[in-house]
């Protein structure tokens, strides 16, 4: 069982992320051109969306899948409330910063999910494609909870930009490409897969290495520039909150009797923190919250934690609860 965790930790994907992280912290001049980086992000969304769609076309829509989707949405609504409570209890963050930070921990990181998918495949555990749809469904409910939590202080919320907020949340690139690719994969099924697998399935692992090198650089630079803004208790939150979220998801997986691969991916989704969709939404909805706190925490602390330590732990727990 621990061999699986070690193999995940020492996979090229994780090692390239660590290389980027260390290079970013050490002020290396490695730079992935911005256009390449944005192209890689769209490629990854398309690849993971198509993969999920092809697998859903093969398996169909079952009662278990619907149940997992509903539980994913409920988790995304619930987790920010828990995160907000823990932040207010353990840190000195003002309520608006705590609410904005909590939103990140109810939403998901699709790159963490992609990395977990690769780790689960590497472990030889079967996983179902519908979890990509669960990932898309878990992107936004957390934002609603955060606004409700912060809404008690009307001065801290920006009420004048609902159109911009809805547009940002519903039409951000990751949601549009991910959901679009999922539907295309679902509709085209096996014949569609045969046409595109040479571009979107076989090279995924190698492209992910390049993308995670860039993510490591971003995380390292973000951490280097922003760590002074974080109290030790806040940094601690960035490490224990994923474990709290994963524990709740593990309970859901146990109740629904999910196979270990699916359980590990659901735990990863719950444990991951957004750093793309939610920060942009928070700048519109809660502009007085400090981005230096929530971005540094989600990208500089929680993302590296999940990628290096969290995912192997979630796979181990998933194997244990699945018997």
């Amino acid at each position: 069982m621990f061999d699986v965790a070690l193999a995940t930790l020492l996979s090229p994907v994780v090692l390239f992320f660590v290389l980027g992280l260390l290079a970013g912290l050490a002020r290396s001049d490695i730079t992935i051109p911005e256009a390449v980086s944005k192209g890689l992000a769209i490629y990854l969304m398309m690849a993971i969306g198509l993969k999920g769609g092809f697998e859903m076309a093969a398996s169909g829509l079952t009662a278990t899948i619907v149940a997992v989707m509903i539980c994913g949405i409920l988790l995304s609504f619930l987790l920010p409330a828990i995160a907000f409570f823990l932040l207010r209890m353990t840190t000195r963050l003002p309520s608006v910063d705590a609410a904005a930070t909590a939103a990140h921990y109810g939403s998901i990181s699709i790159v963490t999910f992609v990395a977990a998918t690769q780790a689960v495949d590497l472990s030889g555990l079967p996983s179902a494609g519908y979890l990509v749809a669960v990932a898309a469904l878990m992107e936004t409910p957390a934002i609603v909870t955060a606004l409700l939590l912060a809404g008690r202080d009307k001065k801290k919320t920006q009420q004048s930009a609902p159109t911009g907020l809805i547009r940002e949340v519903a039409l951000n690139a990751s949601v549009v490409v991910l959901v679009g690719a999922l539907i295309i994969g679902w509709v085209t099924g096996a014949p569609g897969k045969a046409q595109v697998e040479g571009v979107f399935i076989t090279p995924l692992q190698g492209v992910l290495c390049l993308f995670l090198l860039d993510m490591g650089l971003s995380a390292g630079r973000g951490l280097r520039n922003g760590w002074r803004m974080l109290q030790p208790a806040t940094i601690g939150f960035g490490i224990y909150m994923p474990l709290v979220s994963a524990s709740l998801a593990a309970l859901v997986a146990f109740i629904l009797r999910l196979p270990p691969g699916d359980a590990a991916l659901l735990m990863t989704l719950a444990a991951s923190a957004s750093y793309i969709a939610v920060p942009a939404a928070m700048r519109l909805a809660l502009p007085s919250a400090k981005p230096s706190i929530y971005l540094t925490l989600s990208l500089g602390v929680t993302f590296p934690f999940n990628l290096t330590v969290g995912i192997p732990i979630y796979i181990l727990i998933a194997q244990y609860i699945a018997g």
Binding site: E168, M215, N225, M229, A280, K290, S292
Partner: protein, 100 residues
């Protein structure tokens, strides 16, 4: 040569749409938007991220008559109460005053 006012607004990307609306509603005939690379503020360095637009900053430059700039300033001031940004106005000489 004739004197006009030059408005320079550095504002976060997420508030750019509102800033553009304000300039157009004030009757300014033109503006230019530049993307900021990196900077320092609020006690930390920032740089344009390829991951999230949340940290992106933009620079908006517009030149116009004083009354139009004053009209825009009142609304931009309200916008900057919530959003991150820096606003400055300078007097400049322009070659073709009829264009502004």
């Amino acid at each position: 040569m004739e004197q006009k006012k030059r408005l320079e607004l550095i504002i976060e990307r997420m508030a750019l749409a509102r800033a553009r609306d304000i300039l157009e509603e004030a009757g300014l005939t033109g503006y230019t938007i530049l993307s900021a690379m990196a900077g320092y503020g609020g006690g930390r360095r920032w740089r344009r991220s390829d991951l999230s637009t949340a940290e992106e900053m933009t620079v908006v430059i517009s030149i116009g008559d004083e009354e139009k700039i004053e009209k825009a300033l009142a609304e931009l001031h309200k916008l900057l109460e919530a959003q991150i940004g820096v606003l400055s106005v300078t007097t400049v000489d322009v070659l073709r005053p009829d264009r502004f």
